[in-house]
């Protein structure tokens, strides 16, 4: 039922976008509340509307459904907002508007390969946004690169995708290599006597990248890794892993994978009485619905690409001498709430931010020509409500995200009144970390 609901919202958003595009093409007035205000009719009259197709797949079904649907919601909201504002105004008076073309990839790589080919060849997508997850994005990136299409890898943190010599693929997330290293920093700050860490992670591309980088980092920091194992995607019984953790009695447990498996892992850690002082897991803790696992969520820390409490603002951008592109954090949160009747997670924000990055590049290029937009992407140094964006332009890691930083949240409070607090880094925290949790 949720899928039907979200599909209806998606269709609704797309219809709104199409109606607005049609209004503009006919030289009609912009909608009430348009950000373009009174100048919009003049722009529409002097220039022309140019519709661009943004192609992407969403995991409406399959194990990545929760995160992927949120990412799509964010992206659809960006399309609705930019169209409502009359599109991106170029210097020749052209107003660039967007329509979405998307398919359900069923959380499967082979479907992604097939569907991105369709998006490029049949649907004539002008720009591509990746599916959610590093594995699916990696598959889609090959297709984008082969066809010379610009792709923004939203929801995909793997470093490896950007170390294959691609020149058209750009990463909006903080890379996997920096996902859990902050949790290790937090552990060091909270407890100088902590010595042992257990790492249990999903055996997929993203989680393995994170675990590999984390393993190197904590070893370098002097911690002893007492358990280091991967589990297959779709695992539901973590008893064997939890037994190993209980036997090793580590100071901290780190790892996880995606929402479904990580929620289950956290629940079974609690159910089997694992007594780690810190639990830091990927992806799931940042989701608002993580609290549904009740007491098992208490104290769990998770890296987040973004939280509604972050304070990125136009003033910060000015101070850092970096370009700013709205909306503000508060406007995004209220707009998302109004559209989807729920709080945005970082996946939602990442979807919207991917659109903003494309918008900034088109505006900077003053063109929709792919090569000009690509050059603008390479030169981009931007701050949005999602944080800062700047891409590596070296041949070794072209498109890798350099400037965006993670925050770390912890579920605090009692069962029934759990809430997320940002506990790291110091500059972003809204509460002190609870430690030890057991």
């Amino acid at each position: 039922m949720r899928t039907i609901g979200s599909r209806m919202r998606v269709v609704g958003s797309a219809l709104v976008g199409l109606v607005l595009v049609a209004c503009q093409a006919a030289g009609g007035s912009p909608p009430a509340g348009s950000q373009a205000g009174a100048s919009q009719p003049a722009a529409a009259a002097s220039g022309q509307a140019k519709g661009m197709v943004v192609g992407f797949t969403t995991s409406l079904t399959g194990s990545l459904n929760v995160e992927s649907t949120r990412q799509q919601n964010g992206l659809q909201l960006w399309i609705a907002d930019v169209n409502k504002a009359g599109g991106i105004k170029l210097s020749d008076g052209t107003a660039v508007t967007f329509t979405a073309k998307s398919y359900d990839d069923e959380s499967k790589s082979d479907r992604v390969q097939q569907l991105y080919t369709t998006l490029i060849n049949d649907d004539k997508a002008d720009f591509l946004i990746s599916p959610y997850s590093s594995g699916l994005a990696d598959t889609a990136a090959v297709i984008a690169e082969q066809n010379g299409k610009i792709m923004i890898t939203a929801g995909a943190a793997s470093d490896a995708t950007h170390k294959k010599g691609y020149t058209h693929v750009y990463q909006s997330y903080t890379p996997a290599s920096r996902y859990l290293t902050g949790a290790a920093d937090l552990l060091k700050k909270l407890d100088g006597t902590a010595k042992t860490v257990a790492i249990v992670h999903e055996n997929d591309k993203f989680s393995t990248d994170v675990a590999r980088a984390l393993t190197a980092y904590v070893t370098q920091q002097g911690y002893q890794i007492v358990v280091n194992e991967g589990y297959d995607s779709g695992t539901t019984d973590f008893a064997a892993f939890v037994n190993k953790i209980v036997a090793a009695s580590p100071d901290a447990v780190m790892g996880g994978g995606h929402f479904a498996d990580t929620s289950t892992f956290a629940k079974q850690l609690f159910d089997k009485g694992a007594k780690a002082k810190m639990i830091a897991l990927l992806v799931a803790p940042a989701e608002p619905t993580f609290k549904d696992i009740g007491d098992s969520a208490i104290g769990v820390i998770g890296p987040s690409q973004w939280e509604p409490t972050v304070k990125f603002s136009e003033a910060d951008a000015k101070t850092a001498n970096v370009a700013w592109l709205g909306p503000s954090v508060a406007d995004f949160v209220s707009g998302y709430n109004a559209a989807y009747k729920g709080d945005p997670s970082y996946h939602s924000a990442g979807g919207y931010a991917a659109g903003l990055i494309l918008q900034a590049a088109i505006k900077a290029a003053d063109s929709t020509d792919p090569e000009k937009v690509r050059t603008a992407m390479d030169a981009l140094d931007l701050e949005t409500f999602f944080g800062r964006t700047k891409f590596d332009t070296t041949a070794e890691a072209h498109g890798l995200q350099l400037a965006h930083d993670m925050v770390y949240i912890q579920w605090q409070g009692a069962s029934g009144s759990l809430a997320k607090s940002v506990v790291w880094p110091e500059s972003a925290k809204t509460a002190e970390a609870v430690y030890p949790i057991h």
């Binding site: 929760v66 055996n203 539901t236 037994n243 190993k244 929402f259 089997k272």
Partner: protein, 286 residues
């Protein structure tokens, strides 16, 4: 190491009882109806959703809901038999295989449309029981107790009741049973229902402690096949023992090596049993 071994063995045995009940359903249907039910996994998944909605939406206690899910499984099995299986019961085995596969696709397709393949879980906690190195969630203990009770109940039903004797008579020789006045069609339909009821009970029990999706039944169906081959096709008690063996392997293997080796060992065993003892450890030659 020994503590970890004991804890993992206990975990494996507890889940093994539930695997055993699921496999008993599959083997019962084969033993009596002579049909390999490829809708077995779909019924398990359907039962998980049945329990989820009865608990989360109707507010029922999970174990009361399990009774309703079991009865629902019996009814669904009866209907599936009448609509899809009965007409191909005497056709070559491929026909009944395809018929139950079609039922599987219909159930999975409908459920995917209704619920998507997103994970669901029943938010239910019975606390934990600890003894030495072993800590086990209460839901797993209750699940194994229910599984044992169901297996015992099935045994008593098959060997001590008139209806059970009729089922065994039809399983042994359908023609002779009919000559003795046993309505074989009704017995076959009931047996199919009983088999799906066992699948539903297993699905409902698993849902009390593991999250699930529409597609979760596939892995349990696969395990059921391994267990059935291990315990002997058509032998419900062998299936229960096979479940314990498989559960123990799943629990203990990761103590000594990476958990990724578990399916390799499971299916290696599957092949070995097929090669050296095709009727299973407890199967009888036909």
């Amino acid at each position: 190491m020994i503590d970890q071994f004991v804890a993992s063995l206990v975990d494996g045995l507890l889940i093994g009882f539930v695997y055993g009940v699921a496999a008993m359903g599959l083997t019962l249907i084969w033993g009596v109806v002579r049909v390999i039910n490829l809708a077995h996994g779909a019924i398990i998944a359907l039962a998980m959703f049945g329990l989820y909605f009865l608990v989360s939406r109707a507010g029922l206690n999970p174990y009361l809901a399990l009774v309703l899910v079991a009865l629902g499984g019996l009814a669904v099995g009866y209907v599936v038999y009448v609509l899809a299986v009965h007409r191909v019961i005497n056709a070559p085995p491929l026909a009944s295989l395809l018929a139950t596969f079609a039922v599987n696709m219909i159930i999975v397709g409908t459920a995917t449309t209704l619920f998507s393949t997103s994970p669901y879980s029943v938010n239910f906690d019975l606390g934990r029981v600890s003894a030495g190195p072993v800590t086990v969630p209460g839901t797993r203990i209750v699940a194994s107790v229910v599984a044992i009770a169901v297996a015992a109940g099935l045994y008593v039903f098959l060997y001590r009741s008139r209806a059970g004797r009729a089922i065994r008579a039809v399983a042994n020789n359908r023609d002779a049973a009919e000559l003795m006045g046993i309505p074989s069609s009704r017995v076959l339909a009931f047996s199919f229902g009983l088999g799906t009821m066992l699948a539903a009970v297993a699905g409902g029990l698993i849902a009390t402690f593991f999250p699930f999706t529409v597609l979760s039944g596939d892995s349990y169906q696969l395990k059921s096949f391994v267990i059935v081959v291990l315990g002997g096709l058509g032998n419900p008690i062998g299936a229960l023992i096979g479940g314990l063996v498989l559960g123990s392997l799943e629990g203990v293997v990761p103590v000594f090596m990476s958990a990724s080796w578990v399916p390799v060992i499971e299916f290696g065993l599957f092949v070995v049993i097929l090669l050296i003892r095709p009727n299973g450890l407890f199967g009888t030659r036909r």
